[in-house]
Amino acid sequence: MSSPFNIRPKFSTVAIRNLLARAAKKSGGPPPGTPGYQSSNITDTRYQVIKRILYETPKPELPPMTEEDIERHKTIERAWKLFMRNQREKRDAEMAAKYRMLDKANRELEKLPSRLFVQAQMGNKTTLFPKQMKVPTETPPLKGWNNDFKSS
């Protein structure tokens, strides 16, 4: 995944915005009322500016790296990857244990004469997560807790 926009380009975002703003003002053409007006204006100067931004931004000046810098970078990368791998493996082991218990419990249940739970499992239900289930955020909401909430 390449993202050349992570490194700061020569054109700053402020400079680009000014360029585009000027181009937007300049794009005249016939007003919407006239008979020959086209909703998508071909002579829009903004297109030239966008083309310049997308395909003709100058190559960024890349930072010079010494051998020590490279070693440092590689060590950090490896440490991070190791950390992520440990997290992933821990998660995997937890899930495996949970699955084993789930499977074991279900098999035990099947042996029982009444298959009520399995019938419930195979019922025609559209099971979706609740619509108002909030994905946790780092900070609490600005408006606080809504006591007068009603699910429409």
Partner: protein, 286 residues
């Protein structure tokens, strides 16, 4: 003066060995002093953490099938994608056929996936999102594509690729090979940030929109939804620079999941707070 020894030096012909089929080509480690360098995630991914902490467990339980139901499901899928030769039907028991790729089905049909035996890893996960934008105005002038490319790049933070037409339609003055739109595939951190923006900012502000159609899906767990041009202006990346976009276009978003049924794919996406319209009851396919 000593070089005359090398006059009759034969260039050895090195035997070219094909890489083994199990060799996974590794991407070379990119360093910051190269343009290709991707620094990795720059912040906590709220949606990913939520999936791992909350959704994964619940989805494992929701998508669990008892052994009988599992066998029925796999057999049904195998039957749908029947193989060309009858000998393939005994492939699972034939020890010589182990690790062979599954042959094509008969009848010139598309090959469809047959789900594996369930385990703790077969709970559905979101793999990638594809954002696709088709611009009819690009038939008049190719520069209208630029607006779409810039818009998708702003939304997803990845550079889109151009989509070319595959057929001729004289009615619309369309010829084969004309650039007609743009698409971008996003995985990992950009995908989760895009999903976050979508569910927190864009979807709540869509006008007269009740939710994704409950019948949406490609029968294999990948759900698609479409947006009108007004939705583009709701993204914070575009809202701030609204005047700089010459053309507002609608777009499609495809959620690619590891689910093998639409039901499971929908369950996963509803966990990420994507609402579905309460249509007619869709049976859980076993």
């Amino acid at each position: 003066k000593q070089f005359h020894l090398y006059k009759h030096f034969h260039t050895f012909s090195v035997a070219h060995y094909e890489p083994h089929h199990s060799h996974i080509p590794q991407k070379p480690a990119n360093l910051p002093n190269s343009l290709d360098f991707y620094p990795g995630r720059s912040s906590m991914l709220r949606m990913e953490e939520y999936h791992h902490s909350t959704l994964a467990d619940d989805l494992m339980i929701l998508t669990y099938r008892d052994p009988e139901a599992e066998q029925k499901f796999i057999d049904k899928r195998k039957k749908k994608y029947l193989p060309l030769r009858k000998s393939v039907l005994t492939m699972d028991t034939n020890p010589y056929a182990k690790n062979r790729p599954r042959p094509k089905p008969r009848g010139n049909k598309n090959v469809g996936p047959v789900p594996p035996r369930q385990s703790h890893r077969t709970a559905p996960e979101l793999v990638k999102i594809v954002v696709h934008c088709m611009m009819k105005q690009s038939l008049l002038s190719k520069q209208h594509l630029l607006s779409g490319i810039m818009a998708l790049q702003c939304i997803t933070s990845e550079r889109p690729t151009i989509v070319y037409s595959r057929t001729d339609v004289s009615r619309w003055k369309l010829r084969k090979g004309m650039p007609i739109g743009c698409k971008v595939h996003i995985q990992g951190p950009p995908m989760y940030t895009f999903l976050d923006k979508l569910t927190e900012i864009v979807l709540p502000r869509l006008r007269e929109w009740q939710g994704v159609s409950i019948s949406s899906g490609d029968q294999n767990g990948n759900i698609t939804m479409g947006f009108p041009p007004s939705a583009l202006s709701l993204f914070p990346d575009i809202e701030s620079n609204y005047d700089m976009f010459p053309m507002m276009t609608g777009f499609h978003v495809v959620f690619h999941t590891t689910a093998y049924t639409d039901y499971e794919g929908r369950a996963l996406l509803s966990g990420f707070q994507i609402p579905f319209t309460p249509g007619k009851k869709i049976n859980r396919t076993f």
